[in-house]
Structures are given as C-alpha cells and as structure tokens.
Symmetry: C2
Subunit: 330 residues, 2 copies
C-alpha cells in the first residue's frame, strides 16, 4: 500500500509519518511505499523498510497535484495548509493553499481516474473546528451549521464540501477530520492567539515563565498531537458504508477551562510550576478566543471509534512522554 | 444607481428585470442604469427611462467577471447558474458556472477595489435550499448544518461561504438568498424531478392533463416567482448591520403537502381541474424528492422582513394574475 502525506513537514505531518514508518502499517494494512511532500523538505523518518520519496513543492500548484495523483497512492493524508493567522494576513495565499490545494488534488485524482483507468484513493483531509463561528450553543452538535469567522475556516469548510461532493460522485473516498485545539505543541512560544493553551503548560514544565492573556474561565476543547495522529489513521480505515454521506466529522477532545488546565498542571508538576504562570490580561487575544468554538458533542466521531484523551492530566502526560523524553526536565 | 443582473434571461432574472425597470427604483433608491447579462441575450425590459446594456457572455469566464466589475455597478444580482439536473449530469460545467462564476465575480470585485479605488458593491446571490441534505429534522432551523447531496447544492453552499468571507473582509456587501421551491413555473412540463409541483396546477388550469409521480403526502415548501423577486430586492436593501456575519438566509415559504396543493386547486378552479391530475407513481422521481428538504423555520429571514405567500391558494392566484392575464383560460 502506497501512502502519500502532504504537509509532511508540519508538526502533525512529522508525527504521522514517524508512526506510519515505525509501525509499517496503517490500520493493519502493510505500507509498501511512502511519499512525503511539503514546501520545505520533510525529514526522512526512521525505521521504514520500503522506499520513501521526499518531495519539496508547492501544495497550491495544479501541476504538483497532477504529479501526485499520477503516483496513484492508495491513501492520501492531505495536511498541507496555511495556518489561521497567515490565511487572515495573506488572503491570496490562504485561498491558493487551503482552497485551491484540496480542489486541485481532488480534480487531479478525478482526471487520473478518467485518463489512466479506475483510481479511487482514500483521502483524509485535515479540517478544523474553525469552520464553526460564534455565537455557539452550550455544546456544538454534529448538525450545527457552518459559519466560519476566519478565511481559514471558510477555506476548510469549502474543502469539506468539495471532498464530500467528489466522494458522493465516486471520484475519491474522502473523510474530513475536524481537529479541536491540539496541545501541548512543542517548541517556543509563538504569536498565535491560542498559543497560550500550550504555553501555560509547556513553559512551566521547563521552569520557564508563561503568560496567560485570558481569564481562567475560558473553555476550550483539546486533544494531544498523539490523538491527532490517531484520528487521521483511524479515519483512513473507515469504509464508505461506515461514514455514509456526511463524511466530515468533528473529533472528540477534552473540554476544560484554563483553570482546569492549571489544576492538571498542579497535580503533575506541583505548585512551583503553577507559580510560573503569569496573568497578563490582553483584551485583543481574549476577544479572538471568544469567537472560537468551546465544546463539541462529537457523537458521530465517538460512535465511529475516534478516541481522544480522558482528561487534561493525560494530555500533559503524553507531552512529557512524547516531547520531554518521559520525565520532567527539572 | 447602477444595477447589474447576471442570469438575466432566466425565469426569475426576467421578472426581476421587469419589476426594477417598471418601478425605476430598488428599495426606493432610483435606478439610473441597468446592465443585463446571460449566455443567451436577455430581452430588453419595457418602461425604463435610463440606459440598458444587454450583454451575451459566459458567466464562468474570469474575463467576463473582470469586465462586469469594471463597470462598478452599485448592486449586483448574481443569478447566473446551471440548474440542479444539469450540474449533476455535467460535473465540469456545474463547477465552472456555479462555483467559478461567483468566485471569479468576487475576486474581480476585490481586484477592482484594489486597483481602481474603493469599490464595495451590494451583491445578492441566489442560493438554494439544495444546500441541505437528508436526513432532516421536522423543521430545518437557521442553524441546521449544510450537507448537500447534489453537486448543485455543494456549489451553492461553497458560493455562500465565499460570499460570507469576502463580505467579512469588507470586499463586498453580500447576502445569500436560499430559495425554496419556486412555483408555479410558467411554460411547458419539463423533465426535472420537481416539475410536477408546478405541473399539477399549471396544466389543469389550462384544461390539460398533468401527471403526479409522488404520493399526496409529500411535503414541500414553496413561494411564487413574485415572492422570489421580492426576496432578491428586499435582500438588496438590508444593511451590513441588519445582517450581521451570517449573511446567507433560508427564505420563508408555504409548506404544504401535494394533497393540500390539490385542495387549493379545487377551491380556485373546481373539481373539473382536479380531475385532470393523473396519479402515475414513479419510484425514481419519488426517491429524488425524498432527498429534498421539506419544511424551513426561516426565523431570521422572517424577522428581517422577507415575505412569502400566506397559503397555496395565494400562490395559485398570483400565477393566474402574473402568467394567465388575471383570469382562468376556460
């Protein structure tokens, strides 16, 4: 089985690649070949026996989509995307990568099937809870409408619609995975509005101060990077019959307040860590976060077997295992 | 004020044009100039004092969108579309006209504003209840999700998302009008799956037999062509503040069963007309209709002042007034 990953250099892309390479299977089906592509060269994963092709190219280029479809991969994980903040700053780039990227890929797959014989790959598309826009009900059901308040959210919502229509027409077997907030992101603090959700855990665990720009009562739904990878792999194993026509699914997660995140940190790393969180209220950041969805029902995804962590303690422990070598630095 | 209508040769386009030309205003604002475009030349409306430009061109061509935006119309009614059945038969044409058509137009408007000075027209987009897909709740609320089961529905849903994002970014003042079933359509019976909703009234009123392929219990939401025109004009008069960020609206209508349609016909044209309806059950037609949305809540549109008929009798009377010269033919 040939697996293609676009956006393979991203945080999720690298972890997905590493897991598939290490296990050599995807949902118990052996992987014979890996193709990795991104705008910056993805690192070559360890432990994979078969051939690995590393490609450096632009996900918004129709010729790239054609070349990828011509490889006729059996499973495609389409993770290539411009993040929310960048899509908002650079309108053209956001539409080119986030909308034209998936559309070109879908059309290239269809044309490959038309011109070179039947070809209907599994296509797993990384979508986002950003397809939803405030105001929200107490819990967002699987039947809540899609009214994004960012260009990123609009682009992902359009990608979902294209994926569903191309799937319905039999050109591809699509499944859209709407990620909740994925924490704890490794690396340094960044300027993204939601960066603090990771930062208030990541920095204190390393003995560093972290700024908290919002109130402790802010509610949000999170899953670990390990769960995100699990969502993608599980999605690739679902059949057309299991999915039915509504192929885009809100993923489960751990819904907690910032205060509850901090209590989890206290249980795992003690008062000394918690003291490193400094309240620095920022109305602008607070207002952005208020536009984001808080709690998901995710009943369909749960029924289909998607699994996230049970509580935020588990998310922190996974961060320690996967990013900190299994123990606290200090 | 300069008004542009795309798809001006269609049934709704011609009636919208005729009303704007006759009244010389749109929501009490004087119209100084009319531009009408379609792939077949729109007829020149009567009674308009100002200049009328008639254009024959392809709504899917980016150069056409650029040329239209360069005219800097104040209000654009974008009605150009390939109908549902054709979009399903011709996948490429559907995407080119129904998706690229609105995207090209939005982008041409944005580029016009960037290159030739501020330009933010009002853009009224004809969408459809086809953006929804079964299974449905008893009544489809304004917050029900968008899961089209046709390519036409997917294309319209994507158009809505693009319109909302371009509006949010300030490039255009968009409003999407989701039409219910529009009846009674004039003309001859056609092969469309929902054609009988008009046919079982139109033909008997003229002393002709009409086939009814579905059961009398089938429920559907209708408005007259006169209401459809009213929706578009009312939409053009709504401010950004009235609309808020959720600019795509399900229109109100008269929700009746086929049996109730027939009872309305009996009240208006008597038993002789009703006897011309011949039951001809057709499982294929029946199955298609079962996938269509039945009843809408349309609370937001109603609160914003959109109005449809009160009952199906009124829809029949409007057909007699607007299409049959005000009296029954026989």
């Amino acid at each position: 089985m040939h697996v293609l990953i676009t956006g393979a250099s991203g945080m999720i892309g690298q972890r997905l690649t590493a897991r598939l390479a290490r296990e050599g299977t995807c949902n118990d089906r052996p992987i014979s070949r890996l193709t990795l592509t991104d705008v910056v060269a993805p690192p070559k994963p360890a432990g994979f026996a078969g051939p690995i092709e590393i490609r450096t190219e632009d996900a918004g280029d129709p010729a790239v989509a054609e070349a990828l479809a011509a490889l006729r991969p059996d499973i495609i994980f389409h993770l290539a995307a411009i993040i929310s903040g960048e899509a908002e700053r650079d309108f053209d780039k956001g539409y080119r990568i986030n909308l034209d990227g998936i559309r070109n890929l879908l059309e290239a797959i269809r044309q490959e099937g038309i011109h070179n014989g039947p070809y209907v790959p599994k296509l797993v598309f990384s979508s986002s809870s950003g397809i939803f826009g405030a105001p929200f009900p107490a819990s967002i059901s699987d039947e809540f409408h899609v009214t994004p308040l960012t260009s990123y959210g609009a682009q992902k919502a359009i990608g979902e619609l294209l994926l569903a229509d191309y799937s319905r027409r039999g050109f591809v077997e699509g499944v859209g995975v709407r990620f909740p907030s994925i924490v704890i992101r490794p690396g340094k603090p960044n300027a993204s509005a939601g960066g603090f959700f990771s930062g208030i855990i990541r920095e204190p665990l390393q003995g560093l101060e972290a700024l908290l720009p919002v109130e402790d009562s802010v509610l949000f739904t999170h899953a670990s990077p390990r769960s995100a990878v699990g969502f993608l792999i599980h999605a690739a194993g679902l059949s057309r019959e299991q999915l039915g026509p509504r192929i885009n699914l809100s993923m489960p997660g751990v819904c907690v307040t910032v205060g509850e995140q901090i209590e989890a940190l206290r249980r795992i790393a003690g008062e000394r860590a918690v003291k490193l969180i400094r309240r620095a209220p920022d109305k602008a950041a607070s207002d952005i976060v208020k536009g984001w969805p808080t709690r998901f029902d995710a009943a369909r995804a749960t029924a289909l077997g998607f699994k996230a962590e049970k509580d935020f303690d588990e998310i922190i422990r996974i961060h320690i295992e996967d990013d900190l070598g299994g123990h606290l630095p200090n």
